[in-house]
């Protein structure tokens, strides 16, 4: 990639909403028609989506991961966290969504038959789902999902039937009574994968990172830092690095090697 040249597929698009379905309480899966992004996005990359009509309020775009890509369309899963995601979650089929993308650094692709574990918390399952669908051999994959409660587990199409799927809920309403990190701890005991990919709330990521670093298992985490620009120009999305200083979640991230990050 030469300096100053756009990355593959990266552009400003206006994508039409094809469908909008509920996948959990307060979680919507939107399918957007955007062939260029569908063909170039790498799992772990995100889009910067405009959520306002006029662009003045809310002023900033919202970063949302690509959750799946098929021919001419991409899926996103939106958890209603505030005003911006609320507006986005209400977009109806036929509406147009203004986006920049694909942005950021995605996950490193595992070797063809490498055993991997994907650890997702809540809406963090979105990029992992995309990663899963892009794998050559999904049979070697364990998917460990956590949520506060059953109703908050995103039911993304293609996940439910999966053989290697394990669920954890904080309140025990489905699967293991505990966290996805607990599930990972168990897996690491019995049948450790070569690589772990994680996305979810900060405490879960920290726990997963700790486990993997202890056992020297390669682990990549996708971090959610607040962003202003999403394209690397504002320095707003600082991620503290183990080696000191900060890098940009939107550019050097959002996916990091767990060892590179400074965990609190």
């Amino acid at each position: 990639m030469s300096e100053g040249a756009p990355r593959p597929g990266q552009d400003h698009y206006v994508a039409q909403v094809r469908t909008n379905i509920g996948v959990a309480d307060g979680h919507r899966l939107l399918t957007l028609i955007c062939p260029e992004v569908a063909q170039t996005a790498v799992p772990g990359q995100f889009l910067q989506i405009r959520v306002s009509v006029s662009g003045q309020d809310p002023l900033l775009r919202r970063p949302i991961c690509v959750a799946a890509a098929r021919e001419d369309e991409v899926d996103i899963v939106v958890r209603v966290a505030g005003r911006g995601t609320d507006l986005l979650a209400r977009e109806t089929p036929g509406a147009f969504v203004d986006l920049l993308g694909p942005l950021g650094r995605g996950f490193t692709r595992p070797g063809r038959h490498e055993p991997v574990a994907l650890v997702g918390g809540g809406v963090g399952v979105a990029p992992l789902h995309f990663l899963l669908t892009s794998l050559a051999d999904p049979s070697r994959v364990r998917v460990l999902l956590g949520a506060r409660t059953r109703a908050l587990l995103p039911r993304q199409p293609g996940l439910s039937g999966l053989e290697g799927l394990r669920i954890a809920t904080d309140d025990g309403s489905e699967g293991h009574h505990g966290t996805a990190a607990d599930l990972l701890a168990g897996v690491l005991e019995t049948d450790p994968p070569h690589r772990v990919y994680a996305c979810g709330p900060q405490p879960m990521l920290a726990a997963v990172a700790r486990l993997c670093i202890q056992r020297r298992i390669v682990c990549e985490v996708s971090l959610e830092e607040r962003m202003a620009c999403g394209i690397g120009v504002c320095m707003g999305c600082a991620v503290p690095m183990a080696g000191g200083g900060y890098t940009r979640a939107c550019r050097e991230g959002p996916v990091y090697d767990a060892r590179a990050v400074k965990w609190e």
Partner: protein, 306 residues
């Protein structure tokens, strides 16, 4: 008639008045992925300090109604890195390069000016006397006339490059600050930097920014910025770069009619990294529609009896 969008900024001539603001366009490389930098009047690169700065801990940004707060804390790799690693690429982009510098002391401003005086490809220096997000130096200089004057003349003496003093809006009398800068030798003025603001999360009772306070920018502040440009333009004779909440040609026109010679786009890039092109196009349309041949003819053309 082909409207002439070129403008003079003291000793500089820009092909059009639309620049990108310091801290909102990095050092140009990422922005160049979205638009050719040569479409800009100039680029003002991220605030550069003598030594590298890590910046503030996150969260560093928070959205507010039609605006945002930031407390980046001048994260940058220092002036040597700028000269060695960033300027060489930027020089190839066919765009005037303005370097925004921030010292912690008057001496540091002078030192930065001296170092950059010898760096090829720098068109002008912008003195950031007004960043609200660093403790030493930073805003302290920008909110008193002696601070503004000392920093400006120290830089003035240290370089032959054009000097643009960027003023803080967090003052009682912006005209007084402008006069102090001009008297100390500023070739041009930029206004405004960010307004000092703060936001709190009621659920956690914590400030939204780790730094507690931050700088407010975006459309929300535009009325304050336009007012200050108007006040200053009537009081001093040096050219003014107007900024604060610009993302469309109509916004840029407000500043130009108020008295600005050129404008900068900052926060507007975050919502649309290509908006500078739309602003240039919109200015050209406006000039054609109103039969204005030279953009300079519009400067300060406010129709109002005072």
């Amino acid at each position: 008639m082909t409207p002439d969008l070129s403008v003079r900024l003291g000793p500089l001539t820009l092909r059009n008045p639309v620049m990108v603001a310091s801290g909102c366009c990095g050092f140009g490389q990422e922005l160049a992925e979205w638009m050719p930098l040569s479409a800009l009047g100039a680029i003002v690169v991220k605030g550069t300090t003598l030594r590298p700065r890590r910046g503030n801990p996150p969260p560093r940004v928070w959205e507010t109604p039609a605006g945002m707060l930031n407390a980046i804390g001048l994260q940058n790799d220092g002036v040597q890195d700028l000269i060695e690693h960033k300027l060489p690429w930027l020089r190839e982009q066919d765009v005037p390069i303005i370097v925004n510098i921030a010292g912690e002391t008057v001496g540091e401003f002078a030192e930065l000016a001296r170092v950059l005086d010898r760096a090829p490809g720098v068109a002008a220096l912008e003195l950031n006397v007004s960043c609200p997000n660093v403790r030493a130096g930073g805003m302290q200089f920008g909110v008193c006339t002696t601070g503004v004057a000392e920093v400006t003349s120290a830089a003035r003496e240290a370089t032959r490059l054009p000097i643009i003093t960027k003023l803080s809006p967090n003052v009682t009398d912006i005209v007084e600050m402008a006069r102090a800068a001009v008297d100390a030798g500023a070739d041009a003025l930029s206004l405004i930097n960010t307004l000092l603001g703060m936001a709190i999360d009621p659920e956690t009772r914590r400030p939204r920014l780790a730094n507690i306070t931050g700088g407010l920018s975006g459309p929300a502040v535009r009325p304050v910025a336009v007012r200050m440009v108007w006040q200053v333009a009537r009081a001093v004779r040096v050219p003014i770069i107007g900024l604060g909440g610009i993302s469309r040609a109509e916004h840029a026109l407000e500043f130009i009619i108020a008295g600005a010679s050129a404008v900068c786009i900052g926060t507007g890039l975050f919502a649309d990294p290509r908006c500078p092109i739309a602003v240039v196009d919109g200015l050209r349309d406006y000039m054609e529609r109103h039969g204005i041949e030279r953009l300079g003819d519009l400067r300060g053309a406010l129709e109002a009896a005072v």
